[in-house]
Symmetry: C2
C-alpha cells in the first residue's frame, strides 16, 4: 500500500489517528516506548490490519520485533493532524450546553483554542464565561476576523440557529460542530459534524427494542 496525499485521507482514518494519538499520549506516560499494532488495535476495538493500514497511509511502518515507537508515532500523527498554531474556536450560544462544552474542551489538552463565546443575552455579553470572553452576536463579524476564528461550535436555541449560521458562513467560518438538532443547509466547502442528541437517542432506542 502506498501513502496517500495528506488531504486525501478518509475522514474515518483521521478520526482514528486522533484516537491513536490520544491513547498513545496516555501510554507514553507509563514510559512505554514501543507498542504493537495488535495492542493498539485491542485497546481501541479495531483489527491490527486496520491499524497498520491507517499508519501506512501516513507513511509509518512498525518494527517487526518491537512495534511502533510511541513518541515518534505521536509526533508524526501530530504533524499530520495539527496546524502549527492550532485552530481558534468560537462557541455560539453560551447557555448550559455551551458553557459545559467550553469547560470540557478547555480541560482537555488539545490544539483547539476557544477564543470567544457569543450570545444575545445581556446578562452574559461583556463577561467572561467558563473562562472565555462572551460577546454579543452582533460582534461575530468583527471577532471572527480579529481572533482568526475558523471553527464554530453551535449550541444556540433552535429558533436562533438559521440566522446565526448565515452570519457565520458569510464571515468565513470553515468548520462547524452542530449540537442544535437543527438541520443546517450549508455550502459544501464548509466541514460540518452533527451531534444530534435526539436522533442518536432514537437510533439507540430503535436498535435495543
Amino acid at each position: 500500500m502506498e501513502t496517500v496525499k495528506v488531504k486525501d485521507l478518509p475522514p474515518r482514518t483521521v478520526e482514528r489517528l486522533s484516537k491513536y494519538r490520544r491513547l498513545l499520549s496516555k501510554y507514553s506516560i507509563d514510559e512505554k516506548n514501543f507498542i504493537y499494532s495488535h495492542d493498539l488495535a485491542r485497546l481501541l476495538n479495531l483489527t491490527p490490519v486496520q491499524v497498520r493500514r491507517d499508519l501506512m497511509l501516513i507513511g509509518v511502518s512498525g518494527n517487526h520485533r518491537r512495534g511502533y515507537n510511541v513518541k515518534e508515532l505521536i509526533d508524526h500523527i501530530s504533524k499530520i493532524i495539527d496546524t502549527e498554531n492550532g485552530h481558534n474556536l468560537a462557541i455560539v450560544g453560551m447557555g448550559n450546553l455551551g458553557r459545559a462544552v467550553t469547560a470540557f474542551i478547555r480541560k482537555n489538552e488539545t490544539k483547539m483554542n476557544i477564543v470567544a463565546g457569543f450570545d444575545i443575552d445581556s446578562e452574559k455579553t461583556g463577561k467572561e464565561i467558563a473562562g472565555v470572553n462572551c460577546y454579543h452576536v452582533q460582534k461575530i463579524q468583527d471577532k471572527i476576523k480579529e481572533l482568526e476564528i475558523d471553527i464554530a461550535i453551535l449550541t444556540t436555541s433552535p429558533d436562533a440557529t438559521t440566522e446565526i449560521i448565515q452570519l457565520l458562513i458569510q464571515n468565513g467560518i470553515k468548520g462547524i460542530l452542530n449540537f442544535t438538532s437543527v438541520h443546517l443547509d450549508i455550502p459544501k466547502n464548509i466541514y460540518l459534524k452533527n451531534y444530534d442528541i435526539i436522533t442518536s437517542l432514537e437510533e439507540i432506542g430503535f436498535f435495543i427494542k
Copy 2:
C-alpha cells in the same frame, strides 16, 4: 424494492427516519397536509431517491399527485421507531455537561424519559438536579431495575468511566450515548454511539486546513 423487517433497517435509515419525523412535525404545524419527496429531500439536503427509498423500506409510498400524507407519515414512522412507553434514560455524571444534556433532552418532545441521574458528589446526590433525581452511583443496580432504565448517557469524568461502564453493563443497560472521549470496550449486544468532541474537532480541523 421490498420493505425489510423492521429490525433489519440500516442505522442510517433509522437516523433519517428520526429526522424526517422531526421535520414533518414542524411542517404539520403550518397545517400542510401533504409533502413531496423532493421537498423533504431539499429540506434535509438529501436526494429525492434517498427519501423515497427510506420510506419504501418501511412500506410507505407517496401519492404521485399530492405526495405523502404528513400526518400518516409521522404516525407510521412513530410506530416503527418508538416503543409504546418510550425509553427510560439515566444520565451518569451530573456535572456541567450532564446537567446541560439533561435540560436539552427534557426541552425536546420525545419518548425519551430521563428518570434518574447518578453522581458520586454528595453535594448532588439525594437532590433534584435539572429536574431529575440524582442518586449515588452505588444505587445504579437498584435504580436500573426499579425504574426500568435501558439507556445511559455517559457524562462522567474520564477516570471514573471504566468502572461505571462495568456497573452499567452488569445491570442490563442496553444502549449508551458516550460523551466522555474514553474508548469503551463493550459487548457487541450493547448499542453504542460515541460523541467524542475532541476527536470531532480534530477531524474538522484537519479537513479545513
